[in-house]
């Protein structure tokens, strides 16, 4: 293609904008004053050549972009892809943490809305468990590690809430939880003005473990629960003590807590290690 012709076909780009659409006020285009851009009149050959030139460029650029997109994603090393996706989850979590307010509450429901229970997730529960020998170990809250019994927990103000339990799989239940506010427990055994960034919770057999950010676990609707729907927790629901909270998915509401540790290092998290969002909440 000669430079000469390039200059000439460029003139086609000069389109006039004052053409009207047919149909007058019966045409929405005229009602909304939609502009119309037409080139000057060209003979057939010039018009076809111009369209061919534009088509070729369009298909080449579009095709190249599509190939870059497809093969760029395909051939991206798994490690890079993982960093990108994981990094985005972290970024999303960071936004969510920054916009978080403990004053915003999850809805609570009347008793007639309670739905049947469902057992899901037996990690960390093993076979059988003697709840009478259970003790809760708490580290990082006060100067030294403390050991508590269920009576110690039950001595704190008793809270009932009927909230929505949401599983990360996509189903949800409305359940009545009874227990004590995690924040009340912290106030009793520690100093709420000097808190760590995270809390780690682990089952007695250490087979299941979750990490919580301090904001979410100190929320007034996050409970250390010992009753479900008016009955003491069964073993499969996490007896004798578990987390219940509408703030995070079920994967975070650890059953049968054995040890609680307050820490500034982000705790390990069972499902977080398997590709799920570490925060999984709000």
């Amino acid at each position: 293609m000669s430079d000469d012709r390039d200059i000439k076909t460029d003139e086609v780009r000069e389109l006039s904008r004052n053409e009207k659409w047919p149909g007058g006020r019966e045409n929405t285009a005229n009602i909304l004053d939609e502009p119309r851009e037409l080139s000057e009149s060209l003979d057939d050959k010039t018009a076809n050549r111009e369209m061919f030139r534009r088509s070729r460029r369009g298909f080449l650029v579009g095709g190249a972009a599509a190939l870059i997109g497809i093969f760029g994603w395909r051939w991206m090393p798994d490690e890079t892809k993982y960093k990108l996706l994981r990094g985005t989850l972290e970024f999303n979590g960071w936004i969510s943490q920054n916009l978080y307010s403990p004053k915003r509450l999850a809805p609570e429901f009347p008793p007639e809305r309670i739905t049947p229970e469902r057992v899901n997730g037996m990690e960390g529960l093993g076979d059988g468990f003697d709840t009478s020998s259970w003790r809760l170990t708490v580290a990082g809250l006060s100067a030294s590690e403390i050991t508590l019994t269920l009576d110690d927990i039950e001595a704190l103000p008793r809270i009932e809430m009927i909230t929505e339990f949401k599983c990360i799989e996509g189903w949800s239940l409305i359940q009545k939880w009874t227990g004590v506010r995690f924040s009340d427990f912290v106030a009793k055994y520690g100093d709420p003005s000097r808190l760590t960034k995270y809390v780690s919770l682990i089952t007695p057999d250490e087979a299941y473990f979750v990490g919580w950010d301090i904001q979410s676990i100190m929320h007034p609707q996050t409970l250390l629960a010992y009753e479900l729907n008016g009955q003491p927790l069964t073993l499969e629901h996490g007896a004798p003590l578990r987390i219940a909270s509408p703030l995070k998915y079920g994967i975070k509401q650890i059953k049968r807590i054995g040890r609680i540790e307050f820490t500034d290092d982000r705790p390990k998290d069972y499902w977080g290690e398997q590709g799920y969002d570490w925060y999984s909440g709000h």
């Binding site: 009602i31 037409l38 369009g58 799989e169 969002d277």
Partner: protein, 233 residues
């Protein structure tokens, strides 16, 4: 026969249109990976289920089962690109004036009905139109509103405690998920109709979404000025 080139689609619109295809595809694909973990929706008539979303063979054929974590990672990554593309598109149509070609007016519904009757081969004449006919105006505006709906219902599912007011407005957590799902089915329906219409409309129309231009027969009343024809020939 003299022709005129007509500018149809600005470069920005063309890029955003084509980008939207893989982005929406990734949102639907990752959404399916998530939905599989609690695939509860179906079409029911008089209490009988006659289509379940989705049959087991559909999941197995596409290799969907047990990829929830991957689905969530993809969904919460591509959502930024999908929403970003949509927001830039809407802003572009507002500031460029392209909205004039895209939104309906009250009388559009009457003309859109005639377009539908024409497409069903009931009437012969198409009502007058600009770049898009009135059925297109309604469809292309509706699909943007659906996009807004997907973001709103998505947020209601994603942050049901912090945005409890929003989730409640949508009818609660489970309704929000249902609405989010049916909006996806809506995109698929839009896509199917869109493809059929593009095939029927033909090559020149398809090409205009790639080049930005189409040709129209020049108005014969004024033959091209000899000077300009001489230069261009």
């Amino acid at each position: 026969m003299p022709k005129q080139l007509e500018k149809k689609h600005p470069l920005a619109i063309r890029w955003m249109h084509w980008l939207n295809f893989p982005l929406l595809a990734m949102m639907i694909w990752s959404g399916l990976l998530i939905y599989w973990a609690n695939a509860v929706y179906s079409l029911k008539l008089f209490g009988n289920e006659f289509f379940h979303f989705f049959p087991v063979g559909f999941y197995d054929f596409l290799g969907i089962p047990f990829r929830l974590a991957e689905g969530m990672q993809l969904h919460f990554f591509f959502m930024w690109l999908f929403v970003g593309n949509g927001v830039v598109y809407v802003l572009y149509t507002i500031f460029s004036g392209e909205w004039r070609a895209l939104v309906p007016v009250p009388s559009s519904f009457k003309r859109a009905t005639r377009v539908a009757l024409h497409d069903a081969h009931v009437v012969k004449e198409l009502p007058p139109q600009g770049k898009y006919n009135d059925a297109q105006r309604i469809a292309y505006t509706l699909v943007i509103l659906m996009g807004v709906g997907s973001v709103v219902t998505g947020l209601g599912i994603y942050k049901p405690t912090q945005l409890a007011w929003l989730t409640s407005l949508l009818g609660g957590y489970e309704w929000a998920r249902w609405e989010h799902f049916w909006l996806m089915i809506g995109y698929v329906a839009f896509f199917v109709v869109h493809i059929i219409q593009v095939v029927i409309a033909g090559w020149a129309n398809f090409r205009s979404m790639i080049t930005g231009y189409d040709t129209v027969e020049a108005k014969t009343s004024e033959p091209p000025a000899p000077n300009s024809q001489g230069e261009l020939a």
